[in-house]
Amino acid sequence: MILDVRALTKIFGGLKAIEEVSFKVRRGTILSIIGPNGAGKTTLFNCLTGVLPPTKGKVLFEEEDVTHKRAYEITAKGIARTFQNIRVFGSMSVLENVMIGQHTRSKEGLLTAIMGTRKFLKEEDEIKSRAFEYLQFAGIQDYSDVLAGNLPYGDQKRLEIARALATEPKLLLLDEPAAGMNPQETKELMELIRRIREWGKTVIIIEHDMKVVMGISDRIVVLDHGVKIAEGTPNEIQNNPYVIEAYLGKEEVF
């Protein structure tokens, strides 16, 4: 088990955004989290990555309690994420964006930078070349000097993934990566996610596009009103009566 979530609860001023959610993720698999809007999926991500402190419950990452760690510490331990609404660093270049991802994997500080020591220069070079590799992996190496804010939408999504990968995570959380993409882009994205898994990373995805979910997931967790109502393989979920009920009348899913 790479991730073990135990009875995680988050309350916003009386409102339970997620309640007693528990699940486990096996190393090297893809887990999807689905559920209607407002089911608490993004809040769950925020609690897992330390963006929000959970009210109750525990998060174990590689058997280590990371529940109340701050976001950057969790990133350093090996969990990276993308955001639902794109959050690239708009007025920095694409390459610089990915170089930020390398932050926890490098260590040179202020003084060596000022003096321009050989060690510092070597590290900068390494960061740059590695960042470039991630850009290549995500297929946006041609835009490395473009300001991230000027990229087309789909490429910004790819950039977010490249940036998250640059933190060298063991577990990658993707928040609605296919939202707003056309079918061609979605197909390429699924390909990219598969390659990430082949690379030995574990992936958790929040996604509405059921083609994506059913196509690549090993397991699926379903949330509704902050509560986990089902968990299983794509096949099991498709036939789960609770899930069908939760979705019924809201969206035509299947």
């Binding site: 916003f12 001023g13 409102l15 929000l52």
Partner: protein, 300 residues
Amino acid sequence: MFLQQIINGLTVGGVYALIALGYTLVYGILELINFAHGEIYMIGAYLGIIFLGIFTASGLTQYSLFLSLSLTVIMSVIVCSAYGFTVEKLAYKPLRNAPRLNPLISAIGVSIFLQNYVMLTQGATDKVFPHVIPVTIIKFYNVTMTTLQIFIIIVSFFLMAGLHLFIMKTKTGKAMRAVAQDKVMASLLGINIDRIISVTFIIGSGLAAVAGLMVAMYYGLVNYSIGYMAGIKAFTAAVLGGIGSIPGAMIGGLVLGLIESLGASYLSSEYKDAYAFIILILILLVKPTGLLGKSEGQKP
């Protein structure tokens, strides 16, 4: 002596509270610290002197002091509200979707502009409010106060209560609360956001004009630089009470006035201006939501 200081503090605090309401209203709706609000108050004070001067010159004051003063108040409030309205349209509206820092800097620009605009047109020296209002000193036991002081305290409370009712009971007031809660939702419900924002600026500026007028009458002296310090202190009052909360602004203003009065008399009068800042920093560190503020659900 203590009681005397309290009355003094209430007078000053009432004025702070009126200005603080303007900050709180705007912050509630736009999440913008309207740095220029202090200057609007200063403009209100100047307008009072200017209009009263015009009425005196035209003989109205000699004919009826009450009529002349009422007209002065009405005119000052109208013109001052127009200033607030125009400032919003010119300097903040184009920036509504910009990063948060931009409207704040724009507000600082407006503040610098208005200050120097008044300095250039009205001169840098102090303006004296004409001695037309008869001031009676009231004394009981050890405490002395003037009729003007009582007037200021009463008017402040009256206006604050009025505003509270307006926000709670009227349709526009309810719309204002809705916009403050959630702009997107409010516009979906058919509320004209631009109009509500304009109304907010007009009300805030009108209250600031009254505060300016009362200060001009009370101290009898106005200059172009009074807006800065008063603005900062009123903002402190708003934060102290919990920014966005109307009763909070009132209580914050009064508390700040009292703290200043007592601090200046029992600690040191040289550091009088520092008390507001020290309180501000402490409040923001210890209880950023202020005395009456509700803690909002944090969203990243």
